[in-house]
Symmetry: C2
Subunit: 327 residues, 2 copies
């Protein structure tokens, strides 16, 4: 409801919307409208109330507030319930708790900042305040636990497509699910699941998108590895539009997998990949080798041609050998 109020103010840029009109269009009392305006002001919106002309939006904070998300989204199921935090340890941890407590499919946990943002295998994820899109979505797919790794490829397809569409930045996917721009990481994805042996309880997909982070803002140890959309595009970019595009793409690709299986999703993954055809180094668990990335198989495993034959990689880290690194 607050999102709809915001939307009415937005659609009248610079102009006034009368309380009477809002009351009529949304079928709520004037008192309720007044309360929504107070809440929006508390969230940092600059709203002018004129006794005769009504309400006017003069500006808002650059935050991913639930009302903004509600106003921006065109999805049917994903992101229709949002838990918002200014700062949280890890959106994945919050989402896992909500999922265990029975939240609906499509529940989103979004935070302006993560104090202990997590990447794969207990690595950290740099998540400064309001400089990225840090969120987790809960899915309850009817897939088997063996198919779960493909959910993470699915997420990469959605995020890569959404970023290209919303920003024009020509990013690509490194197996399994990092999004790179010119060899540096733009997005990290951490997928976790709760499952019985033959059925998934839920999957949480944590997505961290570096949006407006300057080169100097990254910790020194990340500067050669990470980049941001603003660095790639040469201008600040709107976090909300990117977030909405990602949720829309996620819904499209998830619905595709539900309707037709993973075949079309894996085809999109191949098309967006920057790994296939490249010389790669594979490390862990328990092995280390180099070769050429050939393809992914039906399980989402990476197939790597080596001197000893084709190796199948389902776990571990894959790094792409750049010509520079070869020197």
């Amino acid at each position: 409801m607050r999102g709809e109020v915001l939307l009415m103010l937005r659609r009248q840029p610079g102009g006034y919307v009368s309380g009477e009109e809002i009351s009529r269009r949304l079928d709520v009392t004037r008192t309720a409208i007044w309360k929504h305006m107070q809440a929006l002001k508390q969230d940092g919106y600059d709203i002018e109330a004129h006794p005769r002309l009504g309400y006017r939006l003069r500006g808002g904070p650059d935050l991913l507030l639930p009302a903004e998300i509600e106003a921006a989204l065109t999805t049917r199921r994903l992101g229709r319930s949002v838990a918002y935090f200014r700062c949280v340890e890890s959106t994945n941890n919050e989402a896992k708790q909500l999922a265990a407590a029975g939240c609906p499919e499509g529940q989103v946990v979004v935070a302006e900042e993560q104090s202990v943002g997590r990447g794969r295998l207990a690595r950290g994820w740099f998540s400064p305040f309001a400089r990225g899109v840090w969120f987790t979505i809960v899915l309850r797919p009817p897939f088997s636990p063996q198919e779960a790794p493909k959910c993470t490829l699915l997420a990469a397809v959605a995020v890569c497509g959404a970023i290209r569409r919303a920003t024009g930045v020509a990013c690509g996917i490194k197996w399994p699910n990092d999004i790179l721009y010119e060899g540096k990481k733009l997005v990290g994805i951490l997928t976790e699941m709760s499952a019985e042996m033959d059925a998934i309880n839920h999957v949480v997909i944590g997505i961290g998108i570096n949006v407006n982070i300057a080169a100097d803002d990254f910790p020194p140890e990340l500067r050669s590895l990470a980049t941001s959309l603003s660095l790639a595009a040469g201008r600040p970019l709107p976090r909300l539009a990117i977030f909405a595009a990602v949720l829309e793409e996620l819904e499209r690709v998830y619905d595709l997998a539900l309707a037709e299986g993973f075949g079309p999703v894996l085809a999109e993954w191949r098309a967006a990949s920057v790994t296939l055809g490249r010389a790669v180094d594979v490390s862990g668990p328990g092995r280390r080798f180099s070769g050429t990335a050939l393809d992914i198989d039906d399980d989402g495993a990476l197939l790597v041609a080596t001197a000893a034959g084709v190796e199948r990689v389902l776990a571990g880290d894959v790094s792409i050998r750049t010509p520079e690194r070869k020197e």
Copy 2:
């Protein structure tokens, strides 16, 4: 510590143990001993305190209290931390919360009764007060999520072996992890995991053992399907000894898998199976067929010979055709 006090009383059956001796052997003050005795009395132990002779245990409740478990266990890691409940909705749910909060490997959640005991795929599990061993154990195995189904075979091997050893009841394993006696279910196991795509966060293994349940105590719809150890043995059986034997076997088999991989565990599974070589009906997900159970493969999948060839079963229900049912 309370377990050690209990053990000293137990080792002096019918006789007195002086407070002085307990104080010396356990290196605690007389006041501390007095507090332990009060706590044991509150738990239902009948302890006589004689001003000159000391303490004497006249009887105890038939409960799986942490002090009893501590006194009975010979394991190194498993069951060394116990969360005890008289009644809980589901020990798996409690264990998942403890695991997410970082409890140690081997943490056990035990309840005298489960109000919403769960079996696989949201089915129920009948768990009446103090009539069975209803517990869940938390493991943090270094296996990949793809290997998790083998943890459930591992649990079945341990429980089947422990029951045979502790009670003499000649039970067997139905794929993947039900323990049967004369075709009826003695034990159900529900294994759940939390995992990243290439690493397990934790596995919780819920084990429900029907110990002292009379035929009439089962709900009517279960009477043709379920049985108990007391029915099989023709006498009441000690829950604590069975529980301790299961934890000891679990530790042995888990250590075996950690040291040598799943090969030896799968061999033990085959030896304890009542499924292999039998005519079986397989149902779901999305298929239904009959055939002869041949073997399990390295992933723990059941291989079933059918007219159309060998089918590989990783999910779903397998029922064994008895001669009676064939008629």
